[in-house]
Symmetry: C2
DNA sequence: AGCGATTATATCGTGTGCGATGTATATGGG
DNA sequence: CCCATATACATCGCACACGATATAATCGCT
């Protein structure tokens, strides 16, 4: 079977369109909290580990400073976090949650439950899907590095 | 287990980060062809079914005209497709491939092979992953419609 | 035929992503 | 101590996405 693939047959498109579908699911839930979807992901990373350098956050989220700097500035302006130079190394910037940023974690818990329900509620299957995707991601990142990325 | 989830435990983040990883994989392969990743997806859709209205393309790609119109204009400027009003209904715009747009399909075949290899090459497993993601997407879209999306 | 509602596309503003480049700080070899 | 190099972050430009809104064409009801 060597015919050209239909768009619905491409794994890359499934990932692309599920990503947008999930963002569309989150958006109306996040807007009342004054958050965008990427901003929410930044908060999730900080709730797990606070007071981190921009690069370390970027390693978690797979984002470079050209994306993170303006994003973090907007979040600073919204009083969700602070950005302060590290006195030990003036090059690096420490990102830390404010009380407001921390306080949103409780509301996010309800949000997670809501999203889980929209996804079908079968937690075991969703966890399996997540693990397969992470395996794929790790493989792609290895590939990238081996080609000098 | 009711503790807050780590970012790597969120399915939404797996999808988000795999999507970017795939885009990063495609980008260096598409740039020599003068294409961006979303533009490539538009071409895949048109290779399957040419001469379509913007809305119909949008239904395939899950994109609205606010995204598609400028994207298609750029592709028209790159001589990949034409945009012409439908004489039967002057509201609608017919998007059709040019020879150049059609000719890229051959080169894209090599590209698909290359991507498949980077993903690990186990076609059956990748197809299974794709099907699970499509099931999830359909569930999310149904959810969206049932809430008046 | 007339006109409000619907449909199809376009425009605008904001917020990501990212390649390319710039700037400031630290580090290490001589 | 000096300077090349590396590191950490910032800036710029372009291309998506998308909510909100606008515009033009068609439809449907009377």
């Amino acid at each position: 079977m060597d015919r050209p693939l239909n768009i619905d047959e491409l794994l890359c498109f499934s990932v692309y369109s599920v990503n947008h579908a999930i963002a569309r699911l989150y958006r109306p839930l996040l807007t009342p909290l004054g958050l965008t979807y990427p901003q929410y992901l930044v908060l999730v990373a900080l709730w797990d580990r606070d007071k981190r350098r921009v690069n370390d956050l970027g390693a978690d989220l797979q984002l470079d400073t050209n994306t993170l700097t303006p994003l973090l500035k907007r979040m600073e302006a919204a009083d969700l976090l602070t950005r302060q130079r590290n006195p030990q190394d003036e090059r690096s910037l420490i990102v830390a949650l404010t009380d407001k940023g921390r306080s949103l974690q409780e509301k996010a818990a309800e949000l997670t439950a809501c999203v889980l329900e929209a996804m079908g509620g079968d937690v075991a299957e969703l966890a399996d899907l997540r693990d397969r995707l992470q395996t794929l991601r790790d493989r792609l990142e290895g590939e990238e590095r081996s080609r000098g990325g």
